[in-house]
Amino acid sequence: MASSDPSEESVSAAELSTLVQETEFFRSLVENGSDAILSVDENSTILYANRSVERVFGYDPEEMIGERLTMIMPERFHGRHFDAVDRYLETGDRQLDWSSIQLPAEHADGHEIPLSITFEEHSYDGERVFSGIIRDVSERVARQEELERQNERLEEFAGIVSHDLREPLQTAQATLAVARAGDEEALDELEAVFDRMETLIDDVLALAKQGRAVGETESVALGEAAEAAWSTTCREGATLSVESAPTVSADPERLRALLENLFRNAVEHGGPEVTVRLGTLEGRPGFFVADDGDGLGATDPERLFDYGYTTDEGGTGFGLSIVADIARAHGWAVAAGDSDQGGARFEVTTA
């Protein structure tokens, strides 16, 4: 890059060229860096924004220059921001640690984004300038939340499993003691107790599987998925009526598990002659599964989807929590209520 001319003048030109190129190098580094960089003056007016601000905040850099920094702050922080700046300018006290602080910002479209910000004061042209290097940590935050949710789930899960295994274990022990004391017929009951434990283990495994994120989604004809799910859950006397069925974008295997659990719930609680209806939601994408049984009655709709919540002695209370897990994994919402026919109605909103 330096010229090969050995004269003094040329050396100095080469130095100049290096300087210019280095400046260009840093300009380009700042401009194209993956982190957003913003500089503001003492009045929080934006002096500089690099190109990455568009990716992070949704604004063109040109749109931001000359605006107040509050344009990317959620309103609840505005007052505190100006107080902190005033205090810093007056006293030099930093309200916050300036390195890697976590703060939410407001995107151009209005949603909040979690940021990690490191900022520094420097002077330029005799003015005090504050520059921040800003990283969007949405993914990290989402991952962390997911981990916390999973931990909570695991803890809850361990509690339920230990309860649900200890209970039949106690019954088995008691039954054995009664049999040993002479009532040999009690032994016959042990089989049912062991069945209960086995069902629980199967359900626990199913639940552990359903907690995973969804695999590849594809367009699934809900009507066909429903018929398939019904074939494994129906009981004599029970009827499935598919009124209308949309096509949904889903992991087919998981969708079938969701439907199976909703159907099983309807068949178990809806009485021997239950009719289960499946149809499209009105006004929003999604579908419902309704039955003509007794409805939710005294069932607590808040707890309905909790692990291990059941009103049925023989149930493990995992079925509807599996439904909720699969729905959540697809980004769907599921709600329970009473149907027009007086039975229970579950609505799955798919967007």
């Binding site: 200890r166 022990q173 008691a174 009690a186």
Partner: protein, 192 residues
């Protein structure tokens, strides 16, 4: 129900919605205690009376839950001890529950018998301690008001002194009857 006077063994009520569990508790405790069983909360409350010394109470039951039964037993003012015997993992909410002991299922015959024995020892101790306190206060009140001569003549006063001596003896005996491990355990528990 329990006050028929034909049996002076302590009375235990075992409550569990699994009939075999309640039955096994009765079997395990039947040699040393008079045991009644109930397979639901409502039935348990119907069987409650002042003759019951100890209730073994399941928490998860259809209908009236064990927690509710416990509250009602306390509200009704029965003096019995209550041990929750349950597969429900204890959570912080149990501090609100006025039970005397919390036992996790599954429980076998010998550990159940230990629990019952310990709680009944505490109950006897409590009862005698309360009576000793009252007796001692009554004696003190009389002694401050009456002349030594009139005290000497009083049959009531003599009976009080006898009762106090008996209670003190029984309390000493109760302490001695708990085996060393139990006493240590109890005091370690109380110490923390």
């Amino acid at each position: 129900m329990s006050g028929d006077g034909t049996d002076d063994r302590p009375v235990v009520l075992a409550v569990d919605d699994e009939p075999r569990v309640a039955q096994a508790f009765a079997l395990w405790l039947g040699d040393d205690y008079e045991v009644f069983t109930a397979t639901g909360g409502e039935e348990a409350l119907e069987l409650m009376d002042d003759g019951i010394d100890l209730v073994l109470l399941d928490r998860h039951m259809p209908g009236l839950s064990g927690d509710e039964v416990l509250q009602r037993i306390r509200e009704a003012g029965y003096g019995c001890k209550v041990a929750m015997v349950t597969a429900v993992d204890p959570d912080f909410d149990i501090v609100e529950l006025p039970f005397d002991d919390y036992v996790s299922k599954p429980v076998d015959g010998s550990s159940l018998a230990d629990t019952v024995e310990r709680l009944l020892a505490v109950r006897r101790y409590d009862d005698r301690m309360a009576e000793l306190y009252t007796t001692t206060r009554t004696i003190a009140a009389l002694e401050s008001e009456k002349s030594p001569a009139s005290l000497e003549d009083s049959e009531e006063y003599a009976a009080l002194l006898d009762r106090r001596a008996t209670l003190q003896g029984e309390l000493d005996e109760l302490m001695a009857s708990m085996d060393a491990d139990e006493v240590r355990e109890l005091f370690e528990l109380l110490d923390t």
